[in-house]
Amino acid sequence: MQVPAPLDAMVQAIRRDADVISARQMGRALAEDLGFSRPDQALVATAISELARNIVVYADHGEIELTTLQQGDRQGIRIIARDHGPGIADLERALCDGFSTGNSLGLGLPGTRRIMDEFDIRSPPGEGVTIIAVKWQLR
């Protein structure tokens, strides 16, 4: 019985705050391995932190998956944040600076969109939230 889970992709189940830290560390280590600049390592770590924290707070549990991308001679990191929680009914509003149903700053999603090069968010009714964000290495 092999694991019914990806072996090569880096996956971290997100269930509690400690998992947010693990995912974040995994992302920072990967960014460092790929030779991302220190500020970019921090950006990748912050984006993971935002998405993972949202999972814990709003969806209870989900996962963060990291993949290395290659495009020509530059590399990138793709973060997929996935949960099967209540989902987000109004995506546009959730992406506005300052919108929060959790009495927080409401900057996690818009901020992540700003610091990443690519950002895609989906929340089909009843299927939770899937966010795909990519950061490319500067050349």
Partner: protein, 305 residues
């Protein structure tokens, strides 16, 4: 039992010589060379039917909503199936040595990390063994007695596998809880009085919502107890700052102001500050004073000295 198996893992890291712990563990499962020899005879059958069993296995997994979540797309499934074929061959005839144990144990920690629960794992394994056992009994119609002992041997090895994976699963979980407890035990954060009216609070570890609440309470109690008029919150030792943590800090600082003490935040690293600004946390909201030295100077200035 745990000691037996986990120490056999640590031994596996390099020296392949005789391993007493492994011998003990196998004795406990009543696993012998005889079992291995028996299942190895299934080698031909395995090559022949392996793929079919694995297909059936994945059809079963993918039909289940919880289990299927662990697969992304067809390419991913294809890749995992390949790994499964290797696992299948090993189940039937790999040497039960230290590296086998290390491999099986690794599975448990991957399961913990990726959220594959014991129910999902054992249930899937049971389905898998059931299919396999039926194939063996079918193929060996002529010698049902032997087929039966082969299946029993397979079951022993499978249980050995599951025990190894679940031990690591539990160990990994325990590690996570311990790490969490260590972090929590770092509380209470000390509240240091630098001089009358001036407090320093070095915050360390991770600032999740639980710890942030504790920090706020401590800060407020400290202000009251020492009649402080300025507080330096030093977060040099905070592992990670994102918008939620920034929000906790802003709230904490606002609470200090309400209690009549001027808060000063120090110790935000350049990179963290930069990413916070990009996220959109404004510098004013988190008015910081650079390093601890500057922070204390600023606080003293605020005290009017």
């Amino acid at each position: 039992m745990r000691e037996v198996i986990s120490s056999s893992l640590s031994d596996s890291e390099g020296k392949p010589e005789f391993d007493q712990d492994l011998v003990d563990a196998m004795r406990w499962f009543d696993l012998s060379d005889h079992d291995r020899a028996l299942t190895s005879e299934l080698g031909d059958i395995a090559d022949d039917v392996g793929e079919r069993i694995i297909e059936a296995f994945y059809t079963h997994l993918l039909a289940d909503e919880t289990a299927s979540r662990h697969f992304r797309d067809d390419a991913h499934i294809a890749q995992v199936k390949k790994g499964q074929m290797r696992y299948f061959r090993e189940l039937i005839n790999a040497d039960l040595d230290s590296s086998y144990i290390a491999d099986r144990r690794r599975i448990g920690s991957i399961h913990e990390r990726t959220g594959v629960t014991p129910t999902l794992y054992i249930g899937a394994y049971a389905f898998y063994l059931n299919k396999l056992a039926n194939v063996v009994l079918d193929r060996m119609e002529d010698d049902p007695a032997k087929a039966f002992s082969m299946v029993l041997s397979l079951f022993k090895i499978a249980h050995f596998d599951m025990a190894l994976a679940l031990e690591t699963y539990a160990d990994t979980r325990e590690e996570a809880i311990k790490a969490r407890e260590r972090e929590l035990s770092e509380l209470p954060t000390p509240v240091l009085q630098l001089r009358p009216g001036l407090l320093l609070i070095p915050v360390v570890g991770t600032l999740d919502s639980y710890r942030a609440r504790a920090l706020t309470i401590q800060l407020l109690e400290g202000i009251q107890e020492h009649r402080a008029r300025a507080v330096v919150l030093d977060i040099t030792g905070v592992a990670a700052v994102d918008s939620a943590v920034a929000n906790h800090l802003i709230q904490t600082m606002a609470a200090a102001r309400l209690m009549g003490a001027q808060p000063v935040l120090t110790g935000l690293s350049a990179e963290v500050a930069q990413s916070l600004v990009k996220v959109g946390v404004t510098a004013e909201a988190l008015s910081t004073a650079g390093d601890l030295q500057r922070g204390i100077e600023l606080a003293e200035h605020l005290l009017g000295e």
